[in-house]
């Protein structure tokens, strides 16, 4: 039997996500996606506040806040959200990025109203006292010790942000510094909640087995009652100056099993027309075992034990990171020289049709898979609104990837992957 060995990604036909999009009088944006296949529903509440919005001298605040939001309210005790989800067959969690803090729950659909009540309750009436503030700050510092200090390469992400940006607050990362967290007071926390946790700074997405009218009514009842303060929400206005010369930074630590490096190139924001081509470039260089970096550096030349490429597209201009971890016994210069050859190639020759088709198929398949779960759909919508400003963009993403040509990949590689546009972190054993 003969079968085709590649397919045209354009043959992958995905129905658009249909949704209801409404902004309440107090500014809260609510997006509902109905999919009743399974009696389960996902809620995402994304606040437009992340690491970049931390107050000066208070790095790590947005993330600390994510923890405090689980400590109870005027009406509820600590861990209320855990009990309302885990005890009825659901789960919940939250994460903080440079741009957003996202809280989510997945629950049996007959519990939707309860969780909407609970999410509105912690937006309206978070209670922070000295005790839970100090406890949770210690938890976050413990997380810093464990994730950043103790884990191999734990400091690398922090260094990339800190050294690649000279002016933009993205340079502070998300987890912040223990010294600045320890310097914070309860007053700072209360002020932070008042500044960013308000209806007009939130996007609420509900996806799954829901009745649109009833759900909108509950949202009006519970969220609509929350007042929006008259003061404007502060937004980061800092523009990172253009980088004109390569920067290098050497870091030595005790727990470094193998030498590694990451180079970070400045790229535009997530809503920029080049974003899709940068995603294609990411997969071409680093997506799976057929990617260029894996096949050349890990498999054929055996100079690296692992490679990684990521277009970290953010609300404001982000970074394209390329990481290489040496194979045992290989000096970093040798692995980096081989990497440089691959980068030269991607900057000077367009990929051939087969390769571009393969990469587009990989990306299109990932997009389709991400639509399978209610929480996947809810998160996709929440990110489209907070990072790119428009939920409808999710329905154009597949077409945008399919429209990326070999010439586009060559152009973005030439435009952004220039040595003078990068910061190289060398991460070495002591």
């Amino acid at each position: 039997m003969t079968v085709p060995t590649t397919i045209s990604a354009s043959a992958i036909d995905v129905a658009p996500i249909r949704y209801v999009d409404r902004t309440l009088a107090n500014g809260l944006r609510a997006i509902l996606v109905r999919d009743p296949r399974v009696p389960s529903v996902a809620i995402n509440v994304a606040y437009r506040v992340g690491g970049k919005d931390d107050p000066a001298g208070r790095s790590g605040f947005a993330h600390l806040f994510e923890h405090l939001m689980f400590k109870g309210t005027a009406r509820t005790g600590p861990e209320t959200i855990d009990r309302l989800t885990e005890d009825v067959g659901g789960f919940n969690n939250a994460f903080t990025t440079e741009d957003i803090t996202n809280y989510y729950e997945v629950i049996p659909s007959n519990h939707l109203e309860r969780l909407l009540w609970a999410e509105a309750d912690r937006l309206a009436g978070l209670v922070v006292n000295e005790d839970n503030f100090v406890t949770e700050r210690d938890v976050v510092i413990g997380e810093y010790d464990q994730r950043i200090l103790a884990e191999p390469y734990g400091m690398l992400d922090e260094l990339v942000n800190r050294e690649a940006y000279v002016a933009h607050p993205y340079r502070r990362g998300v987890i912040g510094s223990p010294a600045e967290l320890n310097a914070a007071s309860l007053d700072d926390v209360v002020a932070f909640h008042a500044t960013y946790y308000r209806p007009d700074n939130a996007v609420l997405v509900v996806a799954g087995d829901l009745d649109v009218d009833a759900t909108m009514r509950w949202i009006e009842t519970y969220f609509g009652a929350i007042a929006t303060p008259p003061t404007p929400i502060p937004r980061v206005q800092v523009v990172e100056p253009q980088q004109n010369a390569e920067r290098r930074y050497e870091y030595r630590a005790a727990n470094v099993p193998l030498p590694a490096s990451e180079e970070a190139y400045h790229i535009p924001d997530a809503a920029h027309p080049d974003a899709a081509a940068l995603d294609v470039l990411e997969t071409l260089l680093g997506g799976g075992r057929s990617s260029r970096l894996y096949t050349a550096l890990v498999y054929h030349k055996q100079l690296a034990s692992s490679t990684y490429a990521a277009a970290d597209l953010r609300e404001q201009p982000g970074l394209f990171g390329i990481r290489v971890t040496c194979a045992r016994g290989v000096p970093l210069e040798q692995a980096r020289a081989a990497l440089e050859l691959e980068l030269d190639r991607v900057r000077t020759q367009p990929p051939d049709d087969g390769e571009i088709e393969r990469v587009r198929t990989q990306i299109a398949s990932t997009v389709v898979r991400s639509r399978q779960t209610n929480n996947g759909v809810a998160l996709t919508m929440a990110r489209a609104v907070t990072e790119r400003g428009d939920p409808e963009l999710v329905n154009g993403d597949l077409a945008r990837y399919l429209a990326v040509s070999a010439g586009d990949v060559l152009r973005v590689a030439r435009t952004y992957l220039r040595p003078e546009n990068r910061t190289v972190i060398e991460y070495l054993p002591q």
């Binding site: 039997m1 079968v3 085709p4 590649t6 397919i7 045209s8 990604a9 043959a11 992958i12 036909d13 995905v14 999919d35 296949r37 399974v38 009696p39 389960s40 009406r75 509820t76 855990d82 009990r83 309302l84 885990e86 005890d87 009825v88 067959g89 659901g90 629950i107 049996p108 659909s109 007959n110 519990h111 939707l112 109203e113 309860r114 009540w117 609970a118 509105a120 309750d121 309206a124 519970y222 009652a225 997506g287 799976g288 075992r289 057929s290 096949t295 498999y299 087969g354 088709e357 393969r358 198929t361 990989q362 299109a364 398949s365 990932t366 389709v368 898979r369 399978q372 779960t373 209610n374």
Partner: protein
């Protein structure tokens, strides 16, 4: 805003696409289902032989075979195979457990035909190239040291040995350093040749296609697969040791905390008690479950405690687990035993039972959000000879379980917990156990042999 959370509404049900079964001429059972909300199709080939079919001295063989299937075929090497899957946007995986080895593939609709051909290629023409055998074996051996460094993972492996001794679920399915070192390409090829056969396998295929198209695809691609002779009788399952109350301690002074496991052999997946059993486990497990309430919330003995049931073809293992400070091991073991016993003596309240059953059905519904998840559920039914129709009765059967049936099952299936296994700093608790238990055995970690039915020389 109201001062307390509004009440939940009435629970809603869901209907899974009904799976349909046909048998090909070569004996391959094909179970197909249509679920056409997204352009995705998944297939799982369930070969009904896994670790339970291995010899004691070849523990890890079925896992090694499964891991090697995707590392090259007679026509392409490992990297070419990965590139072929990537070019189709496909996921191709293989893994083995005690009762089965499963090869799975999924892809978007236009790519699926070609992706399914890759599944056929890895199942029927694996290369088992010597350098790949060596590479995978070396990696498996180094992974073992990570497992052994984790007190909880080690306690689970020891529990299996204590419960089953030399019966087929006793040995570690990942093997031991000694058994893996003795395995080579010949044995890998032998296992594959003998057990990967159409007349002892089931293909589950579903997603964005009609069931007739699924059967036609299965026939076109796998119809020419032939069994190597008549199917031999399944060897009798070895004898499961009679229950005996005992304490087995693995002395690992460098462990940060002590892993405490207890349990016994209980029911098989196809047992009519299965639904009562999973509700009973849910009453014990989770943050609000009885074990965590007693061990963490009331006494602060641990960060968490829970229970699990390994439901298999033959009677599977019920295990409780927690991680505690070395000095409080005896207390935690007593609390664990009393809490499990409470299930038989003190029935769950209606309010509690409603929540614990919701935990079970909620997890089930989440598991069928994806095509792969539906396929895995169908495969579980097929593998354990549970009627396919039951897949759409899962939630109802869970709801039908009442407090009396949970207690009745606990009394005959969970109580008493037969053995206690501890992995930790024995100097801090072994003497205390010896004062209250007549059968206590302490094994230094260096002397522990998971390859032996008795865990090493006695």
């Amino acid at each position: 805003m109201s001062v307390s959370a509004p009440a939940p509404g009435p629970p809603r049900d869901a209907t899974l696409p009904a799976p349909v079964e046909r048998v090909l001429d070569n004996g391959l059972r094909v179970v197909a289902f249509a679920q056409r909300n997204l352009p995705l199709i998944a297939a799982q080939l369930v070969v009904r032989c896994g670790g339970a079919a291995e010899r004691e001295d070849e523990a890890g063989l079925s896992a090694l075979v499964a891991a090697l299937l995707t590392q090259g075929t007679t026509t392409r090497g490992a990297i070419e195979l990965a590139a072929a899957a990537d070019a189709l946007g496909a996921r191709l995986d293989a893994a083995s457990g005690y009762d089965a080895s499963i090869v799975s593939v999924s892809a978007t609709t236009p790519a699926f035909g070609a992706a399914f051909a890759l599944l056929d290629e890895v199942v029927r023409q694996p290369a088992f190239a010597p350098h790949e055998v060596e590479r995978v074996r070396t990696k498996s051996i180094s992974d073992l040291s990570l497992t052994y460094a984790n007190p909880s993972a080690l306690a689970r492996l020891v529990s299996q040995r204590v419960a089953y001794a030399g019966a087929p679920y006793g040995h570690p399915v990942a093997g031991t350093v000694a058994t893996l070192e003795a395995l080579g390409r010949d044995r890998v090829a032998w296992f594959h040749e003998r057990f990967y056969r159409p007349d002892d396998a089931v293909l589950v295929i579903g997603g964005d296609l009609d069931v007739d198209d699924a059967f036609a695809l299965a026939e076109r691609v796998l119809g020419s697969w032939r069994a190597p002779g008549p199917l031999p009788d399944r060897p009798p399952f070895g004898e499961i040791p009679a229950p005996r109350s005992r304490v087995v301690i693995v002395d690992k002074p460098d462990a940060g905390r002590t892993a405490l496991y207890s349990g016994r052999v209980t029911i098989e997946r196809a047992s009519p008690d299965f639904y009562a059993a999973i509700v009973a486990i849910a009453v014990l497990s989770g943050y609000s479950g009885r074990l965590n309430q007693e061990i963490r919330v009331k006494r602060g003995l641990s960060y968490g405690a829970g229970a699990m049931l390994a439901a298999r073809r033959m009677p599977g293992l019920f295990l409780s687990s927690t991680l505690i400070d070395h000095t409080r091991a005896v207390e935690a073991a007593a609390v664990t035993a009393a809490t499990i016993r409470s299930l038989a003596d003190a029935p769950a309240t209606d309010e509690d039972l409603v929540k614990r059953k919701a935990v079970v059905t909620g997890g089930f519904y989440r598991s069928i959000e994806t095509i792969d998840g539906i396929a895995a559920n169908v495969a579980e039914h097929v593998l354990y000879d549970v009627p396919l129709g039951e897949i759409n009765e899962y939630a109802r059967r869970v709801q039908d379980v009442d407090a009396a049936s949970v207690s009745a099952f606990a009394a005959r299936g969970l109580v008493p917990d037969d053995f206690v296994v501890l992995v930790g700093d024995a100097a801090k608790f072994a003497d205390e156990f010896a004062r209250t238990h007549s059968d206590v055995r302490v094994i230094p970690f260096a002397a522990l042999d998971l390859g032996s039915p008795t865990l090493g020389a006695k």
